[in-house]
Symmetry: C2
Subunit: 475 residues, 2 copies
């Protein structure tokens, strides 16, 4: 290590105190790869500031170092696109928020709660629940994912249908610019039209504009009535018709509307032990739906909607959860999808979205395109169909080597993305761009849009030292 | 007019076609003042493009003119802060969107509708209603206010409590940069994490970053059950307790929670003819609330909440609307507040917000501060207390000249703003900054926040030619 780098690290160690700076290669290694091990980089050190003041001072030291030091913020390191993994440039310092994990009191009247960036989403949910409130944001990685990363990536999940993604659930943000300047946008104002929407801009910027250190999260009053049903459908086109029926009967209380393709369901029942399939026959596809409110007659609402769906042959069968155990059993059929696909071998995932009315077209066209390329590939889509967000995942043919499948997978991915692009959709509905998908930005978001994003990046980070190589492709 | 200006206007007239460019001083005059006549400016011309393509071309002509031409977008010209009024610089051209007023079809499955910038909010509401949907945004000026201006100012209103302000109701935006470059962000994706939140940034930027030409608005399914009640309360502190009771009983169906001070109610009953006061005695303050859902037992929910409020002496009396006529009569007591204050003489308005839990403190402290300065001023606050947004309005003492009152009003305004600032509130909850309040930005949003806003402005509009003098104070 050059002397000047060593000098900076020494100053950072002093600034951050005991346990505040990791430089031991073994200790640093876990921060230098993403959790899928798709990306590997290097870091001069990992900063673990105890609070925002220490982080601000450390960033000032880096900015004034006289040598280039790039800053890579990292939360729970559960991202799927390498957005928190350092590059191999040799000048990265990772910032870990693990020690910034204070949960403030729930203010029930304000309907908010302040948490540090390093608090896990699950811990924040638990704190809200302990106060009789709900933080209505739920993702698979919530046990490890930290609030800072959840906001930086504008996390979605199955409840976004009703409550919106992370951006809609943030009432305030505290952040630090790459030069160490603090930015306090924590004030709790439900209406405030005094200038540009900096808070909304920081959410979803994947740590490329500023480092989020705290957030004021919006909570909802807990709901007392909840109904869960699994429907078996005759075809993909019926999914939209069922969605319309539920919008009309229960549009204001619809909490989840999740699609499971027949192939995906079959895979789960084959691969995952202990699942209970509630119908006597398999169906072409399924919808798992959940209603929640305070109304006593919520079951009536559900039954009226299902009656119309059965009468119009929009669904061929439906089962209602009669208790929490049954509800959990139904949800497991959806939640075990990723695990089922993992057990079935190599898979290629596509986190795509299209306008909701285009979902059946997407399913039909993308399935046909994939089957034409590789007839025995297992096409197992599932996902948040009420948001137009399908995880259009492909599982290797049973008789093929996983590595062969992955090697030939690019043609499949390209074919799916062509369908999505033609439907004016998105190549990343929930997971962000990170470093995995920057090469798609020019084609999908190019022209004036990408040009403005580059200028915004420059406005926040003129030297390009904050999480370089993420979101925006090289100019 | 210099020759080069005349040459540019000639090219613009050709580009915009018949009726597309106004240069007659009499025709231009209405565009050069705001509707309260607080601000007056000048314009070389008013452009009335027939569509976005014509506007884009016209903006290219202005950008390439070789002389400075500033662009001032103007919607229905109902803004309260002069944000759409040209300056007196002599180089302004106003853009009117009146001819861009196409309403697209409602897509019920997608839950959206595309409208041109020049469509009035009321017309957009009507189109949604005709399709059995609701555009849940309502403001006093909705008959004249145009969607472009509604979005540019991130309009709020009384339903923001449940549905959010304009920013939350926009699924897509089409805009044009000041140099004529089109920016298509209309795609209808409920989840899309591919780069920075340009759409959210444009909403609320008051026409200083780009010109909004079309929007895709989010609609909601129409609700079938509605309950309206007016409550009489013993004191301001009880307002918060009542809010908590309703959050607990009906947090998911609470559509409006509006405060009316005793003074404001008395003024309305004195000044406005035909109002029906439903209680036998006047009270210190009132709350008008509305619940809406599809549940058949919504009345039970309302009655249970009111029962708790009466038992705990949080309210002293309450009246429920038994039909639409009664509902409208109750709402008139709230909606006629501005008219009552106008009839009572000169008034000074403050569109402020604070965290919801701080509302009683705001009312107490701001009232005391004003009374100390001018003991007989009529302090008549009302507003969206569920959003922490109070229109803290002052009406002239009955025996004073209006002009005298307005002349001495600055001390009152300063006193109110000091209270709001200490409570970490906002000097503009709903109405924006415009040119009326730019001098407050440095004190309230200064430092890193304002610096970033300036750099964002520069990213979109390097020459500062788009609506100059609005939002940001002179550097």
């Amino acid at each position: 290590m050059p002397d000047n780098q060593a000098a900076v690290l020494s100053r950072l160690a002093d600034c951050l105190g005991p346990g505040g700076l990791l430089t031991d290669p073994d200790q640093i290694a876990p921060y230098c790869r993403d959790w899928r091990s798709l990306f590997h980089g290097t870091a001069l050190a990992v900063m673990r500031p105890a609070d925002a003041t220490a982080l601000s001072e450390a960033l000032r030291i880096c900015a004034a170092a006289g040598i280039r030091i790039d800053i890579v913020p990292q939360g729970g390191n559960t991202g799927l696109c390498g957005g928190a993994t350092p590059s191999g440039s040799g000048v990265n310092i990772v910032v870990s928020f693990a020690r910034m994990n204070t949960i403030g009191e729930v203010d029930a009247t304000d309907g908010t709660m302040i948490v540090d960036a390093g608090v896990t989403l699950a811990a924040a949910q638990d704190a809200a629940a302990a106060a009789g409130m709900v933080l209505p944001l739920s993702i698979a990685a919530e046990g490890s994912a930290q609030i800072g990363g959840v906001l930086a990536t504008n996390a979605g999940g199955s409840k976004a249908l009703r409550y919106g993604s992370a951006r809609e659930l943030v009432a305030g943000i505290e952040a630090i610019c790459v030069d160490g300047t603090p930015l306090n946008l924590l004030r709790s104002l439900r209406k405030d039209n005094t200038g540009y929407a900096l808070r909304q801009l920081l959410v979803g910027s994947e740590g490329t504009l500023a480092l989020i250190t705290r957030a004021r999260l919006k909570l909802r009053p807990a709901l007392t009535a909840r109904e869960i049903a699994l429907c078996a459908l005759p075809d993909d086109a019926s999914v939209l018709r069922l969605f319309r029926i539920f919008q009309q009967h229960a549009g204001d209380v619809l909490e989840a509307f999740e699609y499971i393709s027949g192939v995906a369901m079959d895979l789960a029942l084959t691969e995952v032990e202990g699942l209970n399939f509630p119908f006597s026959e398999r169906a072409p596809c399924y919808v798992l739906l959940e209603l929640a409110s305070r109304q006593k007659d919520l079951r009536d609402t559900l039954e009226a909607a299902l009656e119309e769906a059965l009468e119009t042959e929009t669904v061929v069968d439906a089962v209602l959860a009669e208790n929490m155990t049954q509800a959990e059993a139904l949800w497991r059929l959806r939640e075990e999808q990723s695990e089922a696909q993992r057990l079935a071998g190599a898979s290629i995932k596509h986190d795509i979205s299209v306008p909701v009315p285009a979902v059946p077209t997407l399913l039909t066209q993308a399935t046909a395109a994939c089957a034409a390329i590789m007839p025995d590939v297992r096409i197992a889509p599932f996902g948040h169909v009420g948001d137009g967000n399908i995880h259009f995942n492909l599982v290797q043919p049973a008789e093929m080597e996983g590595a062969t499948f992955l090697r030939d997978g690019k043609a499949l991915t390209d074919a799916i993305h062509r369908v999505v692009h033609d439907l004016d959709g998105s190549f990343s509905a929930e997971h962000g761009v990170g470093q995995l998908k920057t090469d798609m930005m020019e084609t999908w978001r190019g022209g004036a849009e990408l040009a403005l994003m580059r200028r915004i990046k420059e406005a926040f980070d003129p030297a390009g030292r904050l999480n370089p190589g993420k979101v925006l492709p090289p100019a």
